[in-house]
Amino acid sequence: MFFFVLLGVLRVLYGYLIMKKFETFTGIVCPLDRSNVDTDAIIPKQFLKSIKRSGFGPNLFDEWRYLDHGEPGMDNGKRPLNEDFVLNDPRYQGASILLGRKNFGCGSSREHAPWALEDYGFRVIIAPSFADIFFNNCFKNGMLPIVIQEEIIDNLFAAAGGEKPLEIAVDLEAQQLKVAEDGVIPFEVDAFRKHCLLNGLDDIGLTLQHVDAIKTYEARRRQEAPWLFNQ
């Protein structure tokens, strides 16, 4: 009996606290100097056959990162690396902030793309613009995509390309990026999404707080638009 009660409590907790809380951190910036980086490039299709949510990190940017053709189940540690690709640059090992160009994350809606970025260790992506579905998917996985205007992005690329890796402190509460010498860069974030990230809240749990409103809506629609409830 006690076991089932415990299981129930754990399920409720899982529902409300599915994600880690987003806390202030300082990380190394990895500059990926391409526009229109699509989700096919972030995680190629052969890895979408997995029915799991984790383990995509070693295949992040697979076609750019390795010289051979990757397939699920390969020992990625033994594959030849493309030394020219930025993720393989010794300066950016351990990076947790990805710097991109415009229209980052365009294309397929695959959530495997943010899963791969998160699994690799990225928690923040900074770009002048993002594709809508990818942008939304990031928040669902405790990641923060930040839109910054193009001129500042250019400066960040210049700074991140130096001998010494660029470190940025990300403060979501204050909506600020703190760059060592250049001071503070403010950013915008939707108030609801900020609240969810800071508190590690699960959307489904939040929505289920409005069960009555959903039921009332449904009852009204069944009357006025019964064809929507045929099947």
Partner: protein
Amino acid sequence: MTNKTLYDKLWDSHVVRYDENDTALLYIDRQLVHEVTSPQAFEGLRIAGRKPWRVEANLATPDHNVPTTSRPNGIADISDPIARIQVETLDANCEAFGLTEFTMNDIRQGIVHVVGPEQGATLPGMTVVCGDSHTSTHGAMGALAFGIGTSEVEHALATQCLIQKKSKSMLISVDGKTDPGVTAKDIVLAIIGEIGTAGGTGYAIEFGGQAIRDLSIEGRLTVCNMAIEAGARAGFVAVDEKTIDYVKGRPYAPEGETLELAIVNWQTLYSDAGAEFDKVVNIDASEIKPQVTWGTSPEMVVSVDTQVPDPDRVDDPVKAEGMRRALDYMGLEAGTPVNEIDVDKVFIGSCTNSRIEDMREAAKVAKGRRVADNIKLALVVPGSGLVKQQAEAEGLDKIFIDAGFEWREPGCSMCLAMNADRLEPGERCASTSNRNFEGRQGQGGRTHLVSPAMAAAAAIAGHFVDVRDF
């Protein structure tokens, strides 16, 4: 009363509630489910001990991973064991949670975005979602349809709602008439060439104007399908008599008195005169010619009677660098006439162009001709079992086979090459699909997006040709 856009009407009728930040809880009428983006969503439901809110609002079918070669034994004919597990997982999840599924060898199986409208499962005025970016397709029915990630698939399953902010509205009006030989695919590629792949980001796009109204429902489905390639999650077309005629009599469509009631509602699904859009783009239909993409983004597109563009003539250095990278990947020289580019493979299919009308357009070009000797493979993949059946009843399969095309079983196939249909490194393909990204059709593969008629013509000629001269 203020004048409303179609988007306002679709949005307003689905808002369950707003929070203090104007974030809406939006009710979802229909969710389509496939094998690639759903397993983790069902797993999430299982872990949290949740059930689907309204199970009959969901409709599932496997499409991305299914083989298009003969598959009499169903799942057992999927040779890739990981892909097989994914399709088995979809079957098991639909069984366990009670979802209706058109399994692999059901005649109704096919690409979700072909199956939905074909079954009348996506209706005018609905909100439609699916874990697939090309869900915008269903907007052609006068619906608000958009792609979502797997977390939202789980959310819609569990609550029948999604947490959404309203997008800005854009009207793309394609005015006047198109020339013969210019199809829906050419219209939408020309639109993307005009506004760019991020031109619609943050917007919901209504496609209007005479050239859009003149399109069949199949043509409108093609246009709305590629709204996402212009950056817009949702694209839609106002309801007219064609829409209503298309819906009538389909298996999931209402009948009798309910249908009459529905039609009264559907006839209000257009933008009121004087309704204001955040942005309006006008395109002259008479200037659109058959389109061919030359690069690795759908916005890298030109008319078939021109040349591959030159990055040295572009001022923006980031854009020029992107063009150089694309030319290098595509193995093309700036200035090459498009109709001198030879192709290795041809793919006619995908959620963009695998409906009966697409099959007919391609067959018209292929009839009585032969695929050129330099073409290694010319594939025709119908979008559903029912499209295949209809095409065979019209004798189209025979036209294709006699011309040297392969006639396959329905699925996503070489659009994204998750199954065995793919390009080898360096191979060049004339494809009726929607994305020419690097590696999309196979690592190192080179994709040129075209209409079904243009793809068939390229197969016959062995290189791109203007289908208007064919």
